[in-house]
Symmetry: C2
């Protein structure tokens, strides 16, 4: 074990602000602390169980035994699920030693290691006797994609101070990739971006310039029609336009977002501001025109892709959980690179309203897609069922394409890294959670304790346990937080809209022992969509703090939420466990041809309970909607 | 040549009203007459050219030569395109002899015939040396589907008085199918319904009970999980629920509609009112909840399928041209079976706003999907390009899956059969077109001439050339036609809404030589959607007679139609070639996060020209929308 690096998923050589790792920020409880533990105690063991049960882990044993062509289970990306599980385990071990978990981790690593070829190649789906040759189907084969996830897992180990077998496996594989795909050698790229971010991060973590060069090479190759044209067009895998020329994210959402993250890593390491600016512009435009209220991305089921600008149907929202994670990956890199805390807004929104939606409260079932409207009650899924991703259903234990559960596991296991950042002048709190924070500024340590019931309560108490005299404490203020108050030394000051323009509040002259009380205005509020979003015209959503709320049929006596109309003039009331709006329930009477010269409007008054979207479908099948018609 | 039967696509043994064939109704010009000729003069030769060019026709030669496994082109349903082309030719020849066309027809038939196996089996994709065995992939193989289209082509020949080689090929194939799939023999069904309607119609045309029995057998088998479960579920091919138990159409739209047509044929022939009622109920509910304003059906690109109730997005409307044709097939059978002329409304709507939309004015390019909103200008398609169906593009000459061009060809070639029906008391005019109509009532011939510029003019003049004294003339009155007037013998009478309840106006005491002038109110009108259709809430459409109108960017100086707002209080003005609404153009200025606490509304007044939807995209790429926001 070596001295730990910053134990965090993204550690750029240079950036506007620096991440604080899992050793510097400890979640002590609350919304995110509970989820960090849920990943360790439930989701990780659940994924281990299913990876064993489906035979995806045994594929590695079969490679070692030379029998994999006969017994291979799963799909061309199944190896990546093992690597994402290892990454999740590695972050958990990085934040807190656990001998039992360490030995389970090592056992899986040994099986993976045994499947590696002498030259470093590693795949259970290609290149073994009786299988298709190595690199023979780059557009759909996912070989490099899988290795990218292997490298991210190894990065978690390196940054936690380990140079173990997993790191050795990753180094052998990365060296092999750099040799095979060197400039002038194999000119290909992977149909699913991920190798870029994996190589770049591994290069950073190990100080291996060659990996960074290869990551850059892969980023630069893409967009020049390297891959074949397919049914969905080359934009499906972002091979239509070079990253530095693209103006918006398009095609398969997870692919587009992983590529964006990888391109930002490359841009940061090579001080390529043109590339960084291109990704930022494309991502910002995507936020403006191709993002759901929840932060979810991806409007098409057909190709799991972004739609056109403002094509954001609530019912057919794909909003894959993994796309939400890809968006967090990208936004976090932009926050570090620019120092603009406003990227914390989309991270917060996405964590609460996409990532947190996926796992069931017990961590043993997951949503793959996260629509904003459920028209028909979903089908319950049995604890032993492997689900298809596109079906209308409740959370499911595992999927034929099971990218989301392990992605949730690794993301929840690294949550503490997203709470705060630092620079030489002080610390910025990006997400509000129960946390102990310790940053080493040039002038000395800055130690903070944040305590809050956020997002269910707007009050956050930040105790300055220690701080150099000149240190600055910055608090991210979400765009909706106009009217927030800060209490210091008995003097309360209100934060105006102007102060939120740059997304943060700066506090200086900190006294050791001082308690700063930030109160964010989490009273429920009405939100209107851009009029160009046809799918939700004439509707409003209700948000409370960072939470998007929704109506569920179970709360209106089993009536269909399709028949609800909200009265926007009535006050939104707080209730125990939620919010209550007023409105009407239109009887779903009318029959016949549904397009008429007149409109009728008979309806009975109802109260409309609204609950946080992340809790939806916890109480069994039903209909649900976030956007409520106003007339 | 034998005495022609009724030269029409559906001739039930018993029905409430009887069809009038292509010999009894002659289109003399006008909207539909032009399209009937367009099919003969442009679309049919175009399809011949492409079927030769793609090698789909040569597949039959290769089967005869024993080389097809090496040279086979196209997809598993390509044979059906040849059969649909033959059907189109056969209807054209049935309505009017044409020696040149007859010889082109015979040449294709000879090539098809040469590929038939001695036992009657016929396919270019299966069962030949080097190919997969016969019937080995019923769920995706389309073997029976293709034969269903062969049978429909043969039906057109039989009803036109021919017992030629095509009929002989069809009989051999049908006998073979009846043997292989007899009760107790192979228990399978085809993944794509069509064999049902083909066998039933062939059985009717030839008086062959065995084919009808087999059609019934196939209808009854479906819905009992005969086919494997697939990614989209068994509802994709209607194998989830038996036809007589289903309450709504679901799954792949063309499959659902072809099955409905076949089931109605079976129900009619076996006097199975329970089955007929089940299909009617399911279709009626589909009209109420799963049909676009255009009559288009199918909301999903992913599986070309119906969505849930009221899931009708304008931009992602799939509305496959072939689904429109399937809907016409189903509605026409319901009209014949029930005598309810109101099914003529959906036929009319679908013909004008789905089927007529597909072909370009020159008949050499086609829309496959018919969305109600185009967000980005479609890509022009070269005259030599084979297109993918799902891409945003202008009309294309041919497709990899090219079902629509030949389906349009056969439908436009049989249009005259949909104009009028008869029973022993008289004639009902179902569609208004320039036509000469001759029906043989028990009391004597009833001869009518209809002349009109409909749908561009509401006036239809029906001259009673001959009629028995007691004969009744019935005129279908569309649901929107309240305020229509009828002028007889100098006395004009207005038709009230009540009179439209049963969808028709009955006229008796006809005088020979009398001219009845029906004036339908085609002034443009505003149409509101059912409030449960979320995708178009807060919008209206403008219709004029049977035509759905749309706004195109080319008519508003290239501005994006996404920015239009219609003023519903302003009058709709007639202009040369169209209609003009008034409204505002919202500047597409706002940037940043598109969900806000307030709404701004700055807009400049504009006039909004509206054109018939079937003409859209004739003037090059642009944006388009049918539903216009009201605020």
């Amino acid at each position: 074990m070596t001295t730990p690096d910053t134990i965090a998923p993204v550690v750029p050589a240079r950036s506007a602000v620096r991440p604080l790792g899992l050793d510097a920020v400890r979640l002590t409880g609350g919304f995110w602390g509970e989820r960090e533990r849920l990943a360790r105690d439930a989701i990780i063991p659940h994924a281990e169980h299913w990876e064993e049960r489906t035979g995806w882990l045994a594929n590695f044993d079969a490679v070692a035994a030379g029998t994999v062509a006969q017994t291979c289970q799963g799909r061309e990306f199944s190896d990546s699920e093992i690597y994402k599980l290892l990454e999740a385990m590695a972050w958990q071990l990085g934040r807190e030693p656990d001998a039992g978990l360490e030995s389970r981790f090592a056992a899986i690593v040994a099986r993976v290691s045994a499947a590696q070829q002498p030259d470093g190649y590693l795949s259970t789906m290609f290149g073994n006797p009786g299988q298709d040759p190595r690199w023979s189907q780059l557009e759909w084969g996912h070989e490099l994609y899988c290795l990218g996830h292997l490298f991210q897992a190894a990065v978690a180990r390196v940054r936690s101070g380990h140079r173990d077998e997993l790191v050795a496996v990753a180094v052998r594989a990365a060296d092999h990739v750099c040799e095979v795909f060197a400039p002038g050698a194999h000119p290909g790229i992977c149909g699913h971006p991920e190798i870029e971010v994996g190589l770049a991060e591994l290069g950073r973590a190990l100080g291996e310039r060659r990996y960074l060069d290869q990551a850059r090479e892969f980023v630069e190759r893409r967009g020049h029609q390297v891959l074949p044209d397919i049914e969905f067009g080359r934009e499906y895998y972002q091979d239509d336009i070079p990253v530095r020329d693209a103006t918006v994210l398009r095609g398969h959402a997870v692919r587009a977002l992983y590529l964006s993250a990888g391109a930002l890593d490359v841009a940061d390491e090579f001080a390529d501001t043109e590339l960084a600016d291109a990704v930022r512009r494309a991502y910002d435009r995507t936020l403006e025109r191709r993002t759901y209220l929840t932060g979810g991305m991806g409007s098409h089921h057909q190709d799991e892709a972004f739609g056109e600008d403002f094509e954001l149907p609530a019912d057919r929202a794909y909003c894959e959980t993994c796309a939400g994670i890809g968006s967090v990956m990208t936004a976090w890199r932009l926050l570090l690179g620019t120092g603009d805390l406003r990227y914390g807004d989309i991270i917060e929104r996405t964590l609460y309203n996409v990532v947190a939606v996926s796992p069931r409260a017990d961590g043993r079932a997951f949503f793959y897609t996260n629509p904003l409207q459920q028209r028909v009650a979903g089908e319950p899924v049995g604890a032993d069922d492997i689900s298809r991703r596109a079906r209308a259903q409740l959370r499911a234990p595992w999927f034929e394409v099971s990218c989301c559960p392990t992605n949730v596991a690794r993301t929840l296991s690294q949550l503490a890294a997203y709470v705060a950042v630092m620079d030489e002048h002080g610390v910025s709190i990006v997400q509000y959670a129960d946390a102990d924070i310790r940053a080493f500024l040039p002038e000395g340590p800055m130690v903070l304790q944040t305590r809050t019931a956020y997002p269910h309560d707007g009050r956050v108490t930040i105790t300055v346990v220690d701080a150099p005299a000149e240190a600055e404490l910055r608090l991210r203020l979400p765009a909706w937080a106009s009217g927030a108050t800060v209490l210091r030394d008995g003097a309360e000051s209100e934060v105006s809209v102007d102060a939120i323009r740059d997304g943060m509040l700066r506090l200086s002259h900190l006294a050791v022992g001082e308690a700063v009380v930030l109160t964010l205005p989490i009273a429920p509020r009405l939100t209107h969509p851009d009029p160009r979003i046809d799918a939700v015209r004439g509707s409003v959503a209700v948000e409370a703090g960072p939470l998007v709320l929704c109506a569920e049929s179970v709360d209106i006596g089993g009536a269909d939420v399709a028949d609800l109309v909200i009265d926007v003039t009535a006050p939104l009331e707080h209730t125990e466990g939620g919010v209550r709006a007023r409105g009407r329930l239109r009887p779903a009477a009318s029959n016949g041809w549904p397009y008429r010269g007149d409109v009728d409007a008979v309806a009975e008054a109802v109260k409309i309970p609204l609950v946080p979207y992340y809790t939806w479908a916890r109480r069994g099948p039903g209909t649900m909607r976030i956007w409520l018609p106003t007339s």
